[in-house]
């Protein structure tokens, strides 16, 4: 119970800081819209192939937006030397990590709230509940993995380079399964969205448990 209280307090603190500084979300929202504009001009698409192209564009934009959002989650803490102050309390590192991942994940969800309708508009594809649920399920797993590696590399000088190198390989299952789910939801065929979302949920559970266990070793020393 105390761990949940701590995780929520950490997430609330991060979201309040972002609300007041508006450091990440406006930049990410602009980035995802620009990515869609470029893709809109770069791909030759029509009503037949749009459901095949749009999921790829969606996941590319999400992956790069996620790298920025999760990278900042711990970089800011290290810059202002506040992570150590948090760790010098009896709070469980896993609870602190969960709060950081929750806040970073929610920031990405806000970008998705811009990205998904914009994608539907630019590519003339349907925006369905199945598509939204696939993206949200993938966001959970991507957030915990992204934050874990962001915490690992936060003190390293080349962290901007290392974060994608470590994170992207482990995000591949989310991009593959999520891509299939979204393609199917957009009417482009492929794996049924229901079974793809089930697999995304399994991946989420697996990585939430693994990252919670690893958080102690990553954060505490």
């Amino acid at each position: 119970m105390r761990s949940i209280t701590i995780a929520l307090a950490v997430a609330r603190k991060d979201l309040a800081s972002e609300w007041r500084t508006r450091e990440i979300v406006p930049a990410l929202a602009q980035f995802v819209v620009l990515a869609l504009v470029i893709a809109n001009f770069g791909f030759q698409f029509d009503s037949r192939n749009a459901p095949a192209i749009a999921p790829g564009v969606l996941w590319m934009a999400l992956v790069f937006a996620g790298l920025v959002a999760f990278g900042r989650a711990f970089a800011a803490e290290r810059e202002q030397a506040s992570l150590e102050a948090m760790l010098m309390t009896p709070a469980m590192p896993a609870a602190i990590f969960a709060g950081k991942a929750l806040a970073a994940g929610l920031l990405l969800v806000i970008c998705e709230a811009v990205l998904l309708p914009a994608l539907a508009l630019f590519f003339a594809v349907p925006l369905t509940f199945d598509e939204v649920s696939a993206v949200l399920l993938a966001t959970v797993g991507m957030a915990v993995l992204g934050c874990l590696f962001a915490a690992m590399v936060a003190q390293v000088r080349a962290r901007e380079l290392l974060l994608p190198l470590l994170t992207l390989p482990l995000w591949i299952p989310f991009v593959v399964v999520g891509g299939q789910a979204v393609q199917s939801a957009m009417g482009g065929g492929g794996t049924a969205t229901g079974s793809a979302n089930g697999l995304l949920l399994d991946l989420d559970i697996l990585f939430v448990v693994l990252t919670s266990l690893a958080a102690r070793f990553v954060l505490d020393d």
């Binding site: 105390r2 209280t5 701590i6 307090a9 603190k13 309040a16 800081s17 007041r20 500084t21 202002q80 030397a81 506040s82 992570l83 150590e84 102050a85 948090m86 760790l87 010098m88 309390t89 009896p90 709070a91 469980m92 505490d220 020393d221």
Partner: protein
């Protein structure tokens, strides 16, 4: 009874020896000043005592507990003021303390008491990032005593504090065991009964008021 018993504490960073076999004993309720020039090893020693860093070798017992093993348990009994204030600039002074109340498991009523103690009650709603460096340091000191720790570890807490700073430090150290790193010998003499001088990671010299440290 001794609150801190450190034996042969050594910290190496690659080929550099930041702390070289330092023995340390601090009794309950005692105030110890750690003196030394820049790079002498003061911060390294204090970070080890605060459980923020692990020594390369040596043993450390705090409140009779092995500090290498029982770090989390000990952190609820230690207050640490590090070199950097480590505050959240977008949150107000009161919000910073309230957040740490949750982490420490302390009632939020303590926030008002601590703001009063460190003299920030009037500017409690101002974002920490907009406070002067001295006020930020006061807030960091307040955060360190939020959970009423039995041991205070203060790394150059007088940095940026105004002329009332020593009085504030005396107030927060009263009734607690404290170890404080400073360049200021006068402040050390005013706040502490014992001093420990470090040079290049080793204990040197025995200032007049020093009892037995090494």
């Amino acid at each position: 009874m001794s609150t801190i018993v450190g034996t042969a504490l050594t910290q190496r960073f690659g080929a550099d020896v930041a702390l070289d076999a330092v023995d340390l004993v601090v009794d309950a309720g005692e105030h110890l000043a750690v003196l030394g020039e820049n790079g002498a090893g003061k911060t390294t020693l204090l970070r080890i005592v605060a459980t923020a860093a692990r020594p390369t070798s040596g043993t450390l017992q705090i409140f009779g507990l092995d500090a290498m093993v029982e770090r989390r348990r000990l952190r609820g009994r230690i207050g640490f003021v590090a070199h950097a204030p480590g505050l959240y600039p977008a949150l107000s002074a009161a919000e910073n303390l309230a957040f740490f109340c949750t982490l420490q498991g302390v009632d939020r009523a303590r926030v008002a008491q601590v703001l009063d103690l460190v003299g920030l009650a009037d500017i409690a709603r101002r974002p920490a990032g907009k406070l002067s460096r001295g006020a930020q340091q006061r807030l960091a000191i307040g955060r360190a005593v939020l959970h009423e720790p039995q041991l205070l570890v203060l790394d150059e807490p007088d940095a940026s504090l105004d002329s009332d700073g020593p009085d504030l430090l005396m107030k927060v150290m009263r009734g607690r065991t404290a170890i404080i790193a400073t360049h200021d010998h006068a402040l050390a003499n005013r706040l502490c009964k014992r001093t420990l001088e470090l040079r290049r990671g080793r204990v040197v010299g025995v200032p007049t008021r020093l009892r037995v440290v090494h």
